[in-house]
Amino acid sequence: MSYISDSKTPPVRDSRLKIGIGFGGSVGDLLRASGKGRLLACDRSFCQVSACQLHLTLQMVMTMPDSVTIVHGASGCGAQIHTQDFPIRSGSAARGVKRGELIWMSTNLGERDVISGGEGKLREAILLVDREYRPRVIFVASSCAPNIIGDDIDEVADTLRGEVAADIIPLHCPGFKTRVVATAYDAVYHGLARNLELAPRPHEDFAPPNGLSRDIDEDKREYARRKARTVNLINASSIGAPDERELTELLRAIGLNVRVYTEYVAADDFRFLTEAGLNVSMCAVHDDYLLEHIKEKHGTPYIISSMPLGIAETREWLLNIAARTGDMERAEAVADAREAELRRGLAPFLPQIKGLRVLLSGGVIRVAAAALALKELGCQVVAVRPYHYDDLSDPIYERLERECPGLSVNVAPNQAFELVNIIKREKPDVVLSHGGSGVWATKAGAVSVPLMSPNQNYFAYTGMYELARRLARATQNDALQRRVGENARLPFKTGWYGRDPYSYIEQDRAFE
């Protein structure tokens, strides 16, 4: 998988992995269908809008301080940054990263550009941004139209490299190329890895051994020791600063030096990315593309294992790391102590939470990890609704099958019509919902709690406590949901609620 070095454009997950965006059935059936590669063919004959990989791409790269982003496309592409601006600025502040306004440009492609090409305008935009804002990095994110008409953004970047002070990082993220928003992780990492230095510069960042200094072998051993005690946590927009803090604290407790990459990191700090003994992903759906590349080129091993959400997953996550760094004993002691402390903290909430029937809707790993965590709290999981499915997620879904046999899974990029049908049918006490679905849950009369939020803590022990506290709070008063449920008008004909929620998924072949 040397895509990063060999190809201008990243692969899409539709072909790189076994993916699917439509399915309704048991977790066992899902795993079997995915194993046979039959999910991709499960198409919907009705479909509601979702986001595209440009959206997540922007969410990720705009976190880089001292960068300006140019969206190469029509004026609508990138206009959603008005919504992304605040989360990114507050995310910067929460991490102590200095960030003023977020600046972006649109090449604002018009009819004439679509006919005769938009490369000239892109060139103009890059020169303008370099002159006007003097950023360290200029990202160029290309959307659908320029990809269809054949604009070559890499070529434009190459011809300007000598002319502008900024590093130009092309990002290929046209929405139509992939069914899976998560392809954005590959698009971003492709751009970063191909265009940023990932290793320190001799003489600038460190003094290379010159034979005149002290014992070179001892220096090398010392360097290796230090590197081996350093771990990179790989973050993402869905993971907030409070989660980063909790995980950092846990790893420090077992004596490791922790750094967080790749979001909210300045371009020059990427030169130290490879100065670590281990890369640790916080979510299995994010990072394999980058971490495999770093392993290949720089020899840094990595761990990708679901998500440190819930007591068991957190312990496993921590022990996995400790096993690599040789800190098992300490890690077990830390986990034991923190678990005991957490159980005391949870005790007052458990009677209220126990037996709550919960539906989960959102990211593929997160809904599964959160479902397992809820089970630990004594809740009953009604169904999980991952945005998509891919074979990177197999391990945690296999575990889900073991612990919640027969659990219903609805693979759906939001698709409010299926969500509302399931809510009307199952009447869950709570819906844990990714942004964009809480509104539908509420209108269907159900209490909803955000499944993720960059300002809240979900991960590890404090995250588990916060989740329990939030569930207990949310289920104390459902007046809003009842009032809205009685009065809001949903868009569907009432007959819809009597039908199978998966009526519009063509999935017969998946069950063969």
Partner: protein
Amino acid sequence: MSIIERQRFSCMLGGAADAVAAMPGAVPIIHGAAGCGGNLFMASYGGSGYCGGGRFGGNGVPTSALTENDIVFGGIERLETRLRSAIELLDAEIFVVLTACMTEIIGDDVDGAVGRFQGCGKTVFAVSAPGFAGNSYAGYEAALGGLFKRYIKPSPADCRHVNLLGAVPFHDPFFRGDLEEIRRLLESIGLTATTFFTADQTLDDLKKAGSASLNIVLSPAYGVALAAELAESHGIPYIVSELPVGAEASAEFLRKVAERLGIEGAEAVIAREADRYYNYVDRALDLIADTDFMQQYGIVVANANAALPYARYMRRELGWLPRYAFVTDSLNERQREAVEAAFAEAGMEGLALVFETGTTAVRKRVALDNPPLLPERYGDRLSPAYILGSSMEKELAAQLGAKLLTASFPITNRLVVNRGYAGYNGGLNLLEDIITQFVSVR
């Protein structure tokens, strides 16, 4: 269309989808990639003071969800399948297929496809709305134009009914409150009005639009071309008015409409409204008149619809000194001239009208005109200053040490529900919000 810094609008597709979903019983169906609708809604939602998708909008909008294969081989089959399902599943009457960039570039025969749905018992039609053909304001006009062409039949004129055009959903963040208040004014002189986008609208209101005896365009730039078309196609004459904000502008608006339609009794209404308006203003004067809030230099940074009404309100209602009106839309020559003419007619001496889409450029212009004081004891300056702008004017406010009320797209620091700044009630709301900025730190 030139490159643009931080556009304060989205594309034609976004504007068209917003407009269709804001009308009663109407569903947009996006013929394009699955992400278009979601991304574009994030733009409108995030900038409009968090106006949600409602019944048929937001991330509930149906789409043909094309992928790479469809771009190569054509997406019509997918569109037909998913449109058929939409009609089966959704409790709506009007289904509007909107084409995105990719389906226009590959040349899908969308009219042919929707033609096959004639006779299905619902109104189904297509509007060409590729992002590269214009911005969201153009999308608003295209969607409304499509509705008039395919749903609203020309009917015998009802001399008491008018339509309100020009207030653009989401991009005029106060569109619902404004339209409700304008209709209240019109009702006070015996008229009825189709607003298209307020919560009370029904399919009957849409149909009734065909019998209007006047289209009132509340914008110098948007809806004017559409109104001219409708004069031809539906025989409805039109007038262009600025959005009236405050007592003076509202009185002028009522006189203009009454005169045009030959309605008597407007003066009594105006007198009654003014009496009520100044009764409220009176009670605010105890605070305003004894403080520094009394008079400010005004800076307006807004879209073409709001720039003049806000500047005029500052000057003629508050007695402030508006110095700049930045119009941040990208306008064609005709629209630009119309905005210039409207400002000229309003007589705003001392005010610089600047067409500038870029936030940085707005700030630069103000900085260049108002250089920092030389190290001298005495020097005049642009202070105290007050900005009516968008959330992107925070830096300009910091630069000038000015107060800022966010009143134009994008508004990210307020939730706008049914608040409006138009009419008498809107004028009072605006007074309340402007002055609240001074006391909110107390």
